[in-house]
Every structure is written in structure tokens, then in C-alpha cells.
């Protein structure tokens, strides 16, 4: 019993903490339907390449929904600055799409992708 209290509990606790702090390794990956950030970004990139601005608006909304879903589970292992930067990219992307500005939209999308890659690193 003493061994359990003195050794097992602290080790299990530390392992659990490490898991929480490094959980982005697992939680950044898609866990269900429609929760992959890279796929959602690619969808918007394809729409803009085809000049399909209506679909781009729709897919940007979808990207925003996916982001809200994913950020809930990666927030414990990530830095706030990267999360905020991604959210700002999304807001700017909406503006670029509204103005049908291809260059601006691509910049925001690729920067958002970079922030996604750096999240939790």
C-alpha cells in the first residue's frame, strides 16, 4: 500500500501530465468526420483556384467550424499566440474572399497552415 502511494501515484500523475501537455500529437489528427484542418484549408485553396467564390465562403465557414472544434481539444497543449494568429488569419481570409482578392486569400490560407503546423511545437 505504501509503495502504491509513494511510487505509483506520483508516476501515474506525472505520466498523465505529460500526456496532457503533449496531447496535440494525437489530438491534432482528425478524430472523426469533418475535423481535419489541412483538408479544410485545401478545400478553400481549391475553391479560390477555380474562382468559385460562393463555395469558398461556404468552405471558409466550414474551416471556421472545424477550427472551433479542434481548438477545444488542443488548447491545453498549445500556445495562445498560435491559436490567436490562426483565428486572425480566418478573419482576414473572410475579408479577402469578400473582396475576391486571390493573393490576399492565398497568403492568409498558407499562413494559417503554417500556424497550424507550428501549433504545439
Amino acid at each position: 500500500m505504501r509503495k502504491f502511494l509513494v511510487i505509483t501515484i506520483p508516476i501515474v500523475t506525472l505520466v498523465l501530465f505529460i500526456f496532457v501537455m503533449e496531447s496535440d500529437i494525437f489530438l491534432k489528427r482528425p478524430l472523426g468526420k469533418n475535423d481535419s484542418i489541412p483538408e479544410s484549408i485545401n478545400a478553400v485553396v481549391n475553391d479560390i483556384q477555380k474562382d468559385d467564390w460562393d463555395k469558398a465562403v461556404k468552405d471558409t465557414n466550414n474551416l471556421s467550424d472545424v477550427w472551433k472544434k479542434v481548438v477545444r481539444r488542443v488548447q491545453f497543449s498549445s500556445e495562445r499566440d498560435e491559436i490567436n494568429a490562426f483565428s486572425i488569419n480566418l478573419a482576414r481570409l473572410r475579408g479577402s474572399i469578400l473582396a475576391k482578392d486571390r493573393a490576399g486569400a492565398f497568403s492568409e490560407l498558407y499562413e494559417a497552415y503554417e500556424h497550424w503546423e507550428d501549433l504545439g511545437k
Partner: protein
């Protein structure tokens, strides 16, 4: 991002990590800490605080920081236990600042201590006259150990050739109104004996007793919940809210 929730989770991680690491680091009391141990504690605490509330960076690097500092502290502890020579180098050694009643000025200067610091430490030891001091030593934790001159040392029963029984350590028999039977058994006593003793003090129930202790010489200390104190001495020197 729910910042409050994230801070809550990170605080739990920080709090319990700190608890586990400090337990591993040892049971030294604040008074036993060397100056370096003190700085080590402050640094680890500071990193833990950053881990808890600095959301601009991930918790992982901070946690690794705590881990490395704690591991280095543990390594240093191990080295100083294993090699006395290294311990002297790392933790310093006791330094005599008063020898045969004479202040060692050069040593004081080397240790960056003023005479007023020494007199202050002496006063903390209830010594107001430097004439009483034979030896004074500054320990690695900054405390002053004093050996008084023979003529100023306290008179002990041994000096008077008086035989005294060893008092030993008291055991709790009743705590918070509850009988601790294990301690009773260890002292070769039983519940009836205790009830008789309580009766002698006019106490009928064990539950009336807040604490009762017995030392190996047989001296029983009893404190009741209701002490029937009519006049309580007030040591407050100024009127306040309490």
C-alpha cells in the same frame, strides 16, 4: 480558447508537479536550507508560476525546466552526500567568527558580515553581552551557533548531581474526543485505566476531552473542550476587529 479553463488545467499540472518534485528533493526545512537551496527553490517556484499562467508559450518547455532544475538539485544532493570534499566546495562549511571571545574581523569581512549582524544574531539567541561568548560559528545556512563561556552556561541537573528520570516523548491517548487504543496498548495501559484517571480529574466521558497525552514517566496531560475559563487574558496591544 477558454483561457480560464486552460489556466485551471495548467495550474493543476504545475501544483502537483511541484509537490512531487519537492517531495523527491527531500525533507529539509527552511532553516536547514543553504543559500543555494533557497535560490533553487525560488527558481523552480518561478518556473512553476510561469507554467501556470503564461499562456503565450506551451506548458511543456516550462515543465521540462522544472524537471531539469529538480533533477540537478537531486544530483547535487547525491554528490554532496557521496563526496564530502565536493560538499565542502559546493555548500560551504561552518565558519568561526568569534574564537575564545575574540571577534575574527578578517573572517567577518570575507563572509560579508558586519559586526551588527553578529550582535543581532546573538540577541536572537538571548545573548546581549559579547563577554558571554566563547565561540560563535556561522553555519552554511546562515544561522549562528554559540558556545557560551563556562561561567555563563546554564546550570544543569548534572552540575548539581541531581538524578532525573528520562521524560521521553508523550503519546496521544485521546485526540479530538476519540480514544487511540493503539497508543494505549503500546504503553501497556487499557481503557479502564484511562477512564479511572479521567474520573480522578472529574471527567466522565472520553468525548469531553480535546487531547490527552501520557509520557513514559506517567505524567498525564488533559485538555477539555470546555475549559471553564471565566477570564481570558487579552494580549492584544491595540483595539482591532477581532
Amino acid at each position: 480558447m477558454n483561457e480560464g479553463l486552460v489556466v485551471c488545467v495548467r495550474s493543476i499540472i504545475s501544483f502537483f508537479s511541484l509537490l512531487i518534485f519537492t517531495r523527491i528533493l527531500g525533507k529539509e526545512q527552511i532553516s536547514q536550507l543553504t543559500f543555494f537551496d533557497y535560490i533553487l527553490g525560488i527558481t523552480i517556484g518561478s518556473i512553476a508560476a510561469t507554467l501556470s499562467t503564461d499562456l503565450s508559450s506551451r506548458s511543456w518547455p516550462h515543465w521540462i525546466g522544472i524537471l531539469v532544475w529538480a533533477a540537478l538539485g537531486l544530483l547535487l544532493e547525491y554528490i554532496t552526500m557521496r563526496w564530502r570534499y565536493v560538499a565542502k566546495y559546493l555548500e560551504n562549511e561552518p565558519t568561526i567568527v568569534i574564537m575564545n571571545g575574540k571577534i575574527m574581523e578578517k573572517t567577518l569581512k570575507k563572509m560579508k558580515f558586519r559586526v551588527s549582524d553578529i550582535t543581532e544574531l546573538l540577541r536572537n539567541k538571548d545573548i546581549f553581552d559579547m563577554n558571554e561568548v566563547d565561540f560563535a560559528i556561522i553555519e552554511p545556512n546562515g544561522q549562528l551557533s554559540v558556545l557560551k563561556k563556562p561561567e555563563f552556561q546554564n546550570l544543569t541537573p548534572k552540575d548539581m548531581h541531581i538524578q532525573k528520570k528520562a521524560s521521553g516523548i508523550s503519546s496521544e491517548l485521546i485526540y479530538d474526543g476519540i480514544l487511540i487504543e493503539e497508543n494505549l496498548r503500546q504503553l501497556d495501559k487499557d481503557k479502564n485505566w484511562l477512564l479511572n484517571e479521567l474520573k480522578k480529574h472529574g471527567i466522565k466521558n472520553i468525548s469531553d476531552v480535546f487531547i490527552a497525552t501520557l509520557d513514559p514517566s506517567g505524567s498525564l496531560y488533559i485538555d477539555l473542550y470546555n475549559d471553564h475559563m471565566t477570564k481570558i487574558t487579552d494580549i492584544g496591544d491595540y483595539k482591532g476587529p477581532y
